[in-house]
Homo-oligomer: 304 residues x 4
Amino acid sequence: MKIDPGMTTLQLMEEMGKSGVLGAGRLYRATKLLAELMGDEETTLFLSVAGPMVPGGLRKIIRDLLADGHVDVLITSGANLTHDLLEAFGGSHYRDHNETDEQLCQMGMGRIGDIYTKSEDFEVFESKINTLLGEISQKEDHMNIRQFLTEIGKCIQDPESIIHTATEKNIPIYAPGIIDSMLGLQLWMFTQENQLTLDAAGDMHELSDIVYGSKKVATVILGGGLPKHYALASNILTGGVDAAIQVTLDRSEAGSLSGAPLEEAKSWAKAKCESKLVTVIGDATIIFPMMVAGALELINKKND
Amino acid sequence: MKIDPGMTTLQLMEEMGKSGVLGAGRLYRATKLLAELMGDEETTLFLSVAGPMVPGGLRKIIRDLLADGHVDVLITSGANLTHDLLEAFGGSHYRDHNETDEQLCQMGMGRIGDIYTKSEDFEVFESKINTLLGEISQKEDHMNIRQFLTEIGKCIQDPESIIHTATEKNIPIYAPGIIDSMLGLQLWMFTQENQLTLDAAGDMHELSDIVYGSKKVATVILGGGLPKHYALASNILTGGVDAAIQVTLDRSEAGSLSGAPLEEAKSWAKAKCESKLVTVIGDATIIFPMMVAGALELINKKND
Amino acid sequence: MKIDPGMTTLQLMEEMGKSGVLGAGRLYRATKLLAELMGDEETTLFLSVAGPMVPGGLRKIIRDLLADGHVDVLITSGANLTHDLLEAFGGSHYRDHNETDEQLCQMGMGRIGDIYTKSEDFEVFESKINTLLGEISQKEDHMNIRQFLTEIGKCIQDPESIIHTATEKNIPIYAPGIIDSMLGLQLWMFTQENQLTLDAAGDMHELSDIVYGSKKVATVILGGGLPKHYALASNILTGGVDAAIQVTLDRSEAGSLSGAPLEEAKSWAKAKCESKLVTVIGDATIIFPMMVAGALELINKKND
Amino acid sequence: MKIDPGMTTLQLMEEMGKSGVLGAGRLYRATKLLAELMGDEETTLFLSVAGPMVPGGLRKIIRDLLADGHVDVLITSGANLTHDLLEAFGGSHYRDHNETDEQLCQMGMGRIGDIYTKSEDFEVFESKINTLLGEISQKEDHMNIRQFLTEIGKCIQDPESIIHTATEKNIPIYAPGIIDSMLGLQLWMFTQENQLTLDAAGDMHELSDIVYGSKKVATVILGGGLPKHYALASNILTGGVDAAIQVTLDRSEAGSLSGAPLEEAKSWAKAKCESKLVTVIGDATIIFPMMVAGALELINKKND
């Protein structure tokens, strides 16, 4: 690898590709595969996002991938959707605090690694989401989770919001574990006095239609957990995904799905035997921006 | 630490306690805390189980903890429940295969690390669970997930089953991500032609009643994911758990909840400021059996 | 796995062996292999110790393995030898401090994870080791590192000391990176005004004689680093070790030797193609005591 | 973070800096600090390199940092020096092999992760290095390790070699564990019939002179092991380094120095209390090229 100051992200990654080994090699191969998947009209591209990727600074990147038509299906956690709404409602994420967790609690601040949130922002979130829940439940009191998120997307105006942009662009968001989040908590409290049922199984009808209707399916997986499993498992009925890229710091030895090598999915027919699979070990807030920057530049270069 | 051949598990762990540092120190403190929590009648003890703990050999340990009244609430993944049923229906988990994932797929075997499953066992599972779903949905076509699992527990006879034992002992099982599992897949396929709605929000009513009705709440967390978050988040309305023990190989730097230090939960009021929190870094299939063996021996010793 | 309170360490590990998968399975296999290696008179058993294993509470376990003839060669870091001497000279390791690293520095305390050392203990160490260096250099001013450690072992009286016990039992200690430790620092300062040369290459003559003179060689590796590489590399001339057990939390993806799978050693002829290799992922302060307790109990059982 | 296709590496990293949290935030801060240290004439900059960084593709980057005067002292392993010489003598590193380790062994190929070496290259290495050892030992038969490496640097011609470039530029290379490598093995075999003694303590005289002669010292640490400890420990007599950057995938819980947080060095006076310390968790073959590209671009920008 040779460094030239001022080199573009892709140029740097091509140096990594020339070396081709260890993490650098894997990152380059993942980036090339991502460009290929984004550029292939026959491939339906899923993006699975676990971990604090919205508070961790990837909100805009994910939103732009949706806005620009690069991603066809988003699968994520209730927490990332909560944080997207928090920002849509004017809240923010904070940094550079030195207080202990006990002090933060007393200050009304929640901590995610070195990211900080304020309870005022959550209060605004609660009040606004309650209004939305009221509006939505009047239109319809039984829906699947994807429909619920689409309805929310219609109600909010922030053009930078992932949920809003997905609604605009007609891109489905699935969040099988939505109930386990601040958004889920508000939903539950709302349903103590109001009628609004979310039908998790309903999403699977839709998602399986998408899978059956796709020539090829590929998925990019940031972190593990439910979003990883859901993306892979939803492809089981057609023999598995055609390609997958995974970015994680989890390890495989204790058997958790989050750290499992993608190859394992082949045994379950969640990835096709001939599928293209690349895992990059690293922090997604570093690796994913690089990969996206490299892939977009590669696509632009090819289009020239 | 001094090793005497033939020493009991507790004696070994007391040697670790004398050293008191690094992993050995943490394991000893976690074991002492576990014994204290199990022995405290005022504490409602949650057990959160993510990762392949049933296929990984912990089925009997978890079942016995329920049977002997040591655990009051179980929170786990759909996958662990699926594997519990798989064994209840006569299936098994296999080991010592050297085939590639492609070959395993052709042989009809699924891989979880070095654990193997057979498609025949899943076929039996599918057929049996479908019969059960038919029976259950005739009694009631709308229920929360906990009720659904209780109904399953009533229908199966295997005394070694976690679900069966929980039902027998009146211990609730929560599985907020149940839909994302083989059990969830069967449920979805069943609902394509039958009526059976699971209401995820419904569980939260129950769980919050349990939390409000407890003098103290503690949780043991194996792995991370939804079960970890659900256990902690369900205590937010009362200011957080009074104690927690976590066993994980995940790391904290990328901000994922699974790897987050328990102390972070204090900032969110998911753990009380004065709560007792111990994390042990390691493989739960090693650490949890040690901890349980040590804690039970400690309780027996105190009772003598 | 089934837990019976009061079960011995071996009984617990046999339950892990019945499960046989993930970490529990690996730990059981490593323990059985360790018992086999300890009990085999044809096998020369190396023990490689990196990481703060002496301050971490394993001093007595390592010392007893030497005293009881279970280990034939010890390879370790200068730091572990320094801490062995620190205790031999009356110093200790401390715990339960909450100060920041800045405060510790001002208090004269060094931190290793949650282990603490006092500068007074190091002052005693410096004064005593200097006296020893004076005595040793008068006898001989050019020696290899193993000889140097044997000379130290002759001078100190603490029966609990690893260095003393190794000398008593005629077991060689190799420490190829000795210069990079407090002991090395004292050595260097001594040599500014005195004559004492340590010849690192000299150890390799001896070590290669040991390897050539052994029917079989096996090694137990705690942590990675120089001690791991040195143990494996010293067997390259005879085609590699016959067996190896490794306990580590390091991971393999970035290519570091410390995290490398033992199988990689086969490609380098540092482990024989038919060698028995087991890696356990975990904290050595937990895993090694378990493994030793299990192996010794197994050996006793066989001898009954 | 916002991605613009074609953005330079620095522009991408500045987006990470705007987010400022988790890995992205740490990488940006490390990059800014690196630029500051490189640009500061009062700072003596050490580079500590453990792990297979030369086979992993960083040879050219390290060589260029030396050639361009950005690094003042290099501390590394015998293995990296061996691989530098292997390439200087016409050998190479290979990739894309699917053989098992047993097969590789029979083919005469050694594996480092997904990097492969050929025994022919090592045979050339052995023959050439033996010639050099003969030449060098005739000039001088007792020297410290740094002098030995300088002598080698004089003998080889490859302008891309790290050792050659260091010699050209008068930059010292320290390799306290040199004996534990193929280079060390050849050295040992040479000394069985020839006279050539390397004095490890001798390096410390030199290194301590460098530390005492520097207004400020900073170190960049790739991986852990001996090179990390040596860099930090050599600053203990002046109260510690003024700044340090560490890139590693190792973790801290088991207490190993390799995974230890840099803050721990403060307690030992190996880092000053007011020192600037940044750790980035990740694969150095990804992180270090990014950091260097970003820092060089930042320096160029400032100079404009």
